[in-house]
């Protein structure tokens, strides 16, 4: 470790000579980027060593190399992709159903007063029921099939998107709407060019909330019962005390969650590129 620590810290080398200064600066920038990874790296190495030297039972935590190996074996046999595909498919279908409904209803209540009076207080009441509290009822209704999982995910992701869409539309600057009207925009033009883009940043915040919830609900739903998917993989492995595969499953969930977040941020950067807060410094 001491070796890496030295190469990671080139600061003393930098002021030696003026000619080497650009190099020094580059190294320093590199070190600044790498330094945050130092602690995780040390922890993983400690973990590996303690597993190797028998301080840590593999029942509790298998060695990181063991986890990698298990992941590799699963990936090679194609089993891993099968499960990832099924889990991601469930999550995305649930998001599409719940999020789509939330967006549509949010647009409706945000734009039409009557719809708000009719629907909004009902939605706000139902919103207070945690999706997971519905599990017993959902099992009674749908059994333990795919439909139950999709329903739970759809219910959970519906509310953040609904609420943020509604508020996004309501918070569009009335001055801009008035301007649009005086400049001869039709109702449709006003909607597509002023109201929707104005609500977009808020809608995307709702989407990011929903993506977070989506994985949580998926994990719970798959842990209850599943015939396939990452949850099935881990629960099955638990039965056989295969802690390495359990860890592979956990890491997969983390990875998928991170991917979803990266995707949502990419959407923000693209759709909100006009916004000073999302502009990359050029």
């Amino acid at each position: 470790m001491s070796n890496t620590a030295v190469t990671l810290n080139p600061a003393p080398a930098a002021p030696v000579q003026a000619a080497t200064r650009p190099w020094g600066r580059a190294l320093r920038a590199l070190a600044e980027r790498l330094l945050p990874w130092l602690l995780p790296l040390v922890l993983v190495v400690l973990w590996q060593l303690s597993a190797q030297w028998g301080w840590l039972s593999s029942r509790v935590l298998p060695a990181p190399l063991g986890v990698l190996q298990a992941g590799w074996t699963l990936a090679e046999s194609g089993e891993l992709w099968q499960h990832v595909k099924i889990s991601a498919g469930r999550a995305l279908l649930g998001l599409a159903i719940g999020g789509g409904l939330g967006l549509a209803l949010g647009l409706l209540t945000g734009s039409v007063r009557v719809a708000e009076t009719l629907l909004d207080s009902t939605v706000q009441m139902v919103r207070n029921i945690p999706a997971l509290a519905l599990i017993p009822l959902v099992i009674l209704w749908f059994g333990i099939d795919e439909a139950a999982k999709l329903f739970l995910i759809a219910v959970a992701v519906f509310f953040p998107i609904y609420l943020n869409t509604f508020h996004g539309i309501r918070n569009v600057d009335p001055g801009l709407i008035e301007m649009g009207r005086t400049y001869g925009l039709s109702r449709w033009g006003l909607y597509t060019q002023v109201i929707l883009p104005g609500a977009l940043s808020s809608i995307l915040v709702g989407l990011r909330f929903s993506l977070g919830l989506m994985w949580v609900i998926l994990i719970v739903a798959e842990t209850i019962s599943a015939q396939a998917g990452i949850g099935y993989l881990t629960m099955n492995a638990r039965e056989f005390l295969q802690t390495d595969i359990v860890l592979v499953g956990i890491l997969l969930y983390a990875l998928l969650g991170k991917l979803a977040d990266v995707f949502a941020r990419a959407l923000e950067r693209h759709w909100l590129r006009w916004h000073p807060g999302y502009q990359t410094t050029t």
């Binding site: 600057d173 649009g180 009207r181 005086t182 400049y183 060019q193 883009p197 590129r273 006009w274 916004h275």
Partner: protein
């Protein structure tokens, strides 16, 4: 101003025009005629009703009573030959400068938008986001957006109020130049008497919802602010604005020293 073709501008006529919000009468039986191609500035203190008058003419509000005609036809809602420049530029932040100017234009007229942008001196900023522009540049985009529709009546609702002094003078020259070139009728609402005298053929003062002064500014254009006649006109109108009884030094409250200490309350 005879050099303006009458086809370029709209005649605005107000007859006994009143506007009430609830119990409060904001405009009281106003009579005013603005000739086609004329540049009229409306001055007054905040809350005197000058912005309401502008919104009435724009068709954004409905008069409570009286008549309001553009070229003889009564105003009913928004009018396609009228455009407003708002106090805040009201650019759509998610559209690039060119798309902001082309707002509401048919697609085949996008080239006009670019042409008007170069008229206001922003030909090289067409692809920028509004967030990248300065306050003065935003108002110039907003002016271009209004002009690209070739309005016959341009309403300016304190569009320069938030700009610094130098940018304002630049904007005055730009607006005056474009007005002379296009020949539209212009109605400028402002609280800045100097701005009114610099730009307008006539300065109208509104006090408590009534027209209190309607003065023709005979100074030759282009007007220079250093000019003695300019300064005298500005001072005369400013004095008249300030004459209003509301501005009289408020008499000291006779009760104040008599309030006993326990009668005071802290508000923290």
């Amino acid at each position: 101003m005879s050099q303006h073709p009458s086809s370029g501008g709209v005649r605005v006529q107000l007859h006994q025009l009143s506007k009430r919000f609830g119990q409060r009468e904001v405009l009281k039986r106003n009579e005013l005629t603005i000739e086609p191609g004329e540049f009229v500035a409306i001055v007054g203190r905040s809350g005197c009703g000058k912005s309401t008058l502008l919104r009435l003419i724009a068709g954004l509000e409905q008069a409570s009573s009286g008549e309001l005609r553009l070229d003889g036809a009564p105003v009913q809602g928004l009018n396609d030959s009228t455009r407003i420049m708002f106090q805040d530029a009201r650019l759509l932040p998610w559209k690039r400068v060119l798309d902001n100017v082309a707002l509401g234009l048919p697609p085949e007229r996008r080239a006009d938008a670019a042409a008007v942008l170069s008229q206001v001196g922003l030909g090289d900023r067409v692809n920028d986001w509004p967030a990248r522009l300065s306050g003065g540049q935003r108002q110039r985009v907003s002016l271009a957006r209004a002009l690209v529709h070739q309005p016959r009546l341009l309403l300016l609702d304190e569009p320069l109020g938030a700009l610094d002094a130098l940018t304002r003078i630049e904007m005055h020259e730009l607006i005056e130049g474009l007005w002379r070139r296009h020949g539209f009728t212009a109605l400028l609402v402002t609280h800045d008497v100097q701005e009114a005298v610099a730009l307008a053929d006539r300065v109208v003062l509104i006090e408590d919802g009534e027209i209190a002064l309607d003065e023709r500014i005979a100074l030759p254009r282009p007007r220079s602010r250093g000019d003695a006649a300019f300064a005298a006109t500005e001072k005369r109108i400013l004095d008249r604005v300030l004459q209003h009884p509301d501005t009289a030094e408020p008499a000291p409250d006779p009760n104040w020293p008599g309030v006993p200490a326990h009668g005071l309350r802290w508000a923290i």
